[in-house]
Symmetry: C2
Subunit: 266 residues, 2 copies
Amino acid sequence: MQSENSTRATCSGLTKEYDVYTVSETGIGNGRVEVCVEDTVTLLLNDTRIANLTVTPAELEEFALGYAVCEGLVPGPSAVESITVDGLTVHIRTNAFHEERISPETEIRSSGGVGVKTPWHELAAPVQGNLLLDLDTIFGGMDTLHRMASTWKSTGGTHCSVIIDADGVLQSHAEDMGRHTSVDKAVGKALSAGIDLSGCFMACTGRMPAGMVAKASRAGVPVIVTNNAPFSTGIDLARRLDMTLVGFARRPRAVVYSAPHRIRDI
Amino acid sequence: MQSENSTRATCSGLTKEYDVYTVSETGIGNGRVEVCVEDTVTLLLNDTRIANLTVTPAELEEFALGYAVCEGLVPGPSAVESITVDGLTVHIRTNAFHEERISPETEIRSSGGVGVKTPWHELAAPVQGNLLLDLDTIFGGMDTLHRMASTWKSTGGTHCSVIIDADGVLQSHAEDMGRHTSVDKAVGKALSAGIDLSGCFMACTGRMPAGMVAKASRAGVPVIVTNNAPFSTGIDLARRLDMTLVGFARRPRAVVYSAPHRIRDI
């Protein structure tokens, strides 16, 4: 499996291709899949840093104009004098910037999940433990995940995370409106109960950026599974940390993006 | 339609019930639906504010423990001496807090979308314009939304927003890994083209918290439609601003949460 991959522009954003293992009803094979790129953009308004935002790094000029209006930083598009894109930094010049409107509470924020420029960039230590999972245990974990998502069933508005051991036994679960927060709660419950997380995997709903992978890594969970898509950052971090990342896990199909050595059948 | 509603605990979180209009193949009726509550929690670590986070306000003690470990604020659960929940403020006491690890860039962040304690709490002006939409135009907008989501089709990893006028003509669209950011980009493109947004509606993928509704409001878009669930904050804000919020819009079904007077058939 290649560790680095090609990046190419699409009509509406940036994607990257990754070599993966594919699991399907016909067995385990190799494949190459297209993944959405995640990156961090810094917005400056008249040279004051307004926000670091997690975005797909495309159409940044339109993004900056829309953000300035939609977040109420300027009264309207006519108040924007110029927008300059310099790599992943965007400079907005306006004749209507009231610095007092930028409180400490709005100055730094993320619109795509956990905060930006977080320490996951510095994470380097591979996860420990010698967990070995059957594919069937992983799919069983997804079944458990869906079974535990009671608030999702009644509202359609939550994410769910479960922590499950190598025998398929549920150790903790949590639902929350945020996918990151559902991980925090599931980990918090398992730690409160004294569970050894190095012998467990985590199954989650929702997409998988680096922030989610980093949470599992810091908690010591070596395998993370989702029913949904990963982002490029999630795959890159999982590969760097030798964590096993499984996406689109919908029995009998799944995509294995990293560290397949923890899955017995591969 | 009632403007305030009951809140009750469920087994795994907090939900709230709302009176709505339901659209289905048998016509338009009244209904009562359960909606996931969104709220903002402040985390203090040895009295230093670490984060404001958008969460489902339940299981806050486990959340704080998991967050502290998963974000690397403490080396492990044994470093946490106590966790005290006081309403929506959570105090964590630890013997291993290194204040220098909390950089300005990690101090304030959100794990559930756009930043917290944002000015949407202060938004009060109702949206303007006399837009009147056919239900069929709204469903047509959802068809357009799905047709434009080309990166979603290849990666499964994006959100998409489209801006469409009352005649059903597409005015702008954008895809991004973040639902909030896709709105920023779609609005930025429409504003660049000089579109009058008061005569348009916006169709989006993904759930609908107040942050999304606020963006549409500031951009002057009076109607916002999603194929997914709203949060309590999104409904409450839309009602306060007299914005039309439509959720679970999947032809021939939809749920209308607020301001039905902009939909001709209701």
